[in-house]
Structure formats: structure tokens, C-alpha cells
Amino acid sequence: MTVAFAVPDVLVARAQAGDEAALEALFRAFETPVYNLARRMLRNAEDAEDVLQETFLEVVKSIRFYRGEGYLWGWIRRIAATKALMRIRRDQLRATEPLDEEHGKAGMHVGANIDLERAFERLTDTSRAVVWLHDVEGYTHEEISELMGKSVSFSKSQLARAHARLRGMLGEGAGEGEGAHA
């Protein structure tokens, strides 16, 4: 999803002064992209709603520190991505799920063509987050590794594994030889 609208400086200035109407205008402008980002990264809608709420609480609290470097959406998106990744880490700690183990592994190699959206949802939380941040939001591996507190090679390997999984779930490239496209 591309967010391509600019926010008037005067609106940002009013929000920074604590104007509630301006803060609500920012919320209305960005609630869908923030929720969409969180929902794509997280497994359930309630978590994504919580990330939306946490993100805007942070925006309301910290917008006075926003100095206009880069787009406002970039600033808000980084807050949202950080909140979503914190939630993924917390869930992994609770579930002791290894970072590189695919979710629902037993049902992965069905060989049938399934919808890309469904296939994407069946990736692990970490893989899904990396794919979404890199391929859709345009984050670099360096930025992802910084957000996740991992190495660049971790981000790269997660992306490669995720695409190999997606390819398998979508039934693409059947019959390739050894070492091919895995």
C-alpha cells in the first residue's frame, strides 16, 4: 500500500501545539495505513488494533519532537512498525516459537495454487514482517535489521526463506531440478 499524500505543515504545527482537532485529523489521515501495516505484520486483528492505538498514543505524546525530517508518514510508520515488532517478539517469547520455523509447517507443501494473501498469512510472524517491510514498504535490510535488533544477514535470509515458502505454497516452479530456486 502506497501512502502518497502530504500533510500540510500548518496541520502538523497545530498538532504539535496540542490542538486536539489537528491530532484527530492526523489520526484520520493515517489510521488505515497504520492498521494495514500492523495487520499485515501481525496474525490477528485485535493485535493490529492495539498497535494502531499504541502508535497514535505515541504520536500524540511525541509529535512535538517531530522536526519535519522526511515524510510524516515515514515517522509514523516507523513507530507503528516498532510497536508491531515488539508485539511479535513478545508473542515469540511466550510461545517459545523459533524465529525461523514456518508456521503450520505440516500443511505447507500442498502443491496446490492458493491465494497469495492466504499464503502470506501462513508465513511465520517474523518472515511476514520482513517481507512486508522490505517488499511492500520499501525498507532496506539495514533498516529492518535495526528495527528488529538482528543482523542484516538475518533479514536477508528471512526474506529468501519466505519467498521460497511462498513459491512452494503457490505451487510455482514445480519439477525444477536440484538446487533450483529454493
Partner: protein, 194 residues
């Protein structure tokens, strides 16, 4: 025949592929098809429809932000109150010689209040998410604490030497309210699982 791995394909897409991979993909139709599939998958991901939040979260954000602003203001006023109380205590120490028991109770209540303030800071450092009900309860408790603080300020200003018992009672009320506030914050922290 060896084909490109997914790492190779992703590197090709990023313009960072090895010389071998770049040459191979020119000659190998299967790998070119794989690279096309990769581009298509990414394009399809980008084209997925935007998911919209099922509920309006602005009222909760707004109300929680209002509570936070109020709390911050009151925290500053409490610091002022604490400083005033300390000053009153210094001035009145000689007159309190016969009221040791009450003074001990007063001191204990103040210590407990300070400890609870610290606990509250720990549970509330970054404006954790509250449900609407919790936010309302927090606001109610903070209002009650503000009333007690007002009473404390008034009692400190008039006939301070005669008000030990009343001061102890007020500080104990404050401690009780602070405990309830901390409990709400603890519940909130458990709710979000942090």
C-alpha cells in the same frame, strides 16, 4: 544443471547479484521465469487491498491522551506539594516533640505515598494503552487524589501545629487512593502483557 537460488534471485532483483547469477539468468529460461514470478509476487503483495480498522480507536486515544496530560500536570503539582510539606515539617519539628506517635504515622504514610508514586512511574513510563473503562477509573482516582492534595495544602496552611491527626488521616487516604491507582496500572500492564 544448477539454477539460481532464491538468494540469487533476490540479489538479482536488488541489483547485487554475482557475475555467475547475472550470466546464468540470461541463458536459463527457467531462472528468468522464476525471476519474473518473484517480481509478480511482490507486485501482487503491493496491490493487496488496504485493510481498514474495524472500530474507531480515536475516542480511546483521545481520552487516554487527556488523562496522561492531566496526570503529568498533577505529578508536577504533587512535587510542589511534597516540597511544601517538607518545608512545613522542618519548621514544625520542635513543636512536635510530644506527638511522636502521630509524627511516626505521618512519616510512614508519606513514605508509603512516595513509594507508590515511584511504582506508578514504573508502570506508566510510556503511556501504556488503557481500555476506556480503565482510563475512566484512572481519571476518577486521580481526581480524588487531587482533592486530598488540595485538603493537605489547606491543612498545612492553617494552624499546622494543631492538625496532626487530620494530616495523618489525609495522608492515609492518599496512600489508599494511590494503592488503587497502582492496582489499576498493574492490571493494565497485565492486560497488554508487558
Amino acid at each position: 544443471m544448477m539454477h539460481c537460488t532464491m538468494d540469487d534471485l533476490l540479489a538479482l532483483r536488488a541489483g547485487e547479484a554475482s557475475v555467475w547469477a547475472r550470466r546464468h539468468v540470461e541463458d536459463c529460461a527457467a531462472c528468468r521465469a522464476e525471476l519474473d514470478s518473484l517480481y509478480q509476487r511482490v507486485a501482487q503483495l503491493k496491490a493487496l487491498p488496504a485493510l481498514r480498522p474495524p472500530r474507531d480507536r480515536w475516542p480511546v486515544v483521545r481520552d487516554t491522551a487527556r488523562v496522561e496530560r492531566t496526570r503529568r500536570r498533577r505529578t508536577w503539582s504533587r512535587w510542589g506539594l511534597a516540597a511544601a510539606a517538607a518545608l512545613v515539617g522542618i519548621l514544625l519539628v520542635p513543636q512536635f516533640g510530644k506527638r511522636g506517635e502521630l509524627r511516626a504515622e505521618l512519616s510512614q504514610a508519606k513514605d508509603q505515598s512516595a513509594t507508590l508514586e515511584d511504582q506508578l512511574q514504573n508502570y506508566d513510563v510510556d503511556g501504556r494503552v488503557l481500555t476506556g473503562r480503565m482510563a475512566a477509573r484512572v481519571a476518577e482516582l486521580e481526581d480524588l487524589i487531587a482533592v486530598v492534595d488540595g485538603d493537605l495544602a489547606r491543612w498545612g496552611a492553617i494552624k499546622p501545629q494543631a492538625q496532626d491527626a487530620e494530616l495523618v488521616k489525609l495522608w492515609q487516604q492518599r496512600v489508599d487512593l494511590m494503592r488503587q491507582l497502582v492496582n489499576v496500572r498493574v492490571s493494565s500492564a497485565r492486560y497488554v502483557g508487558l
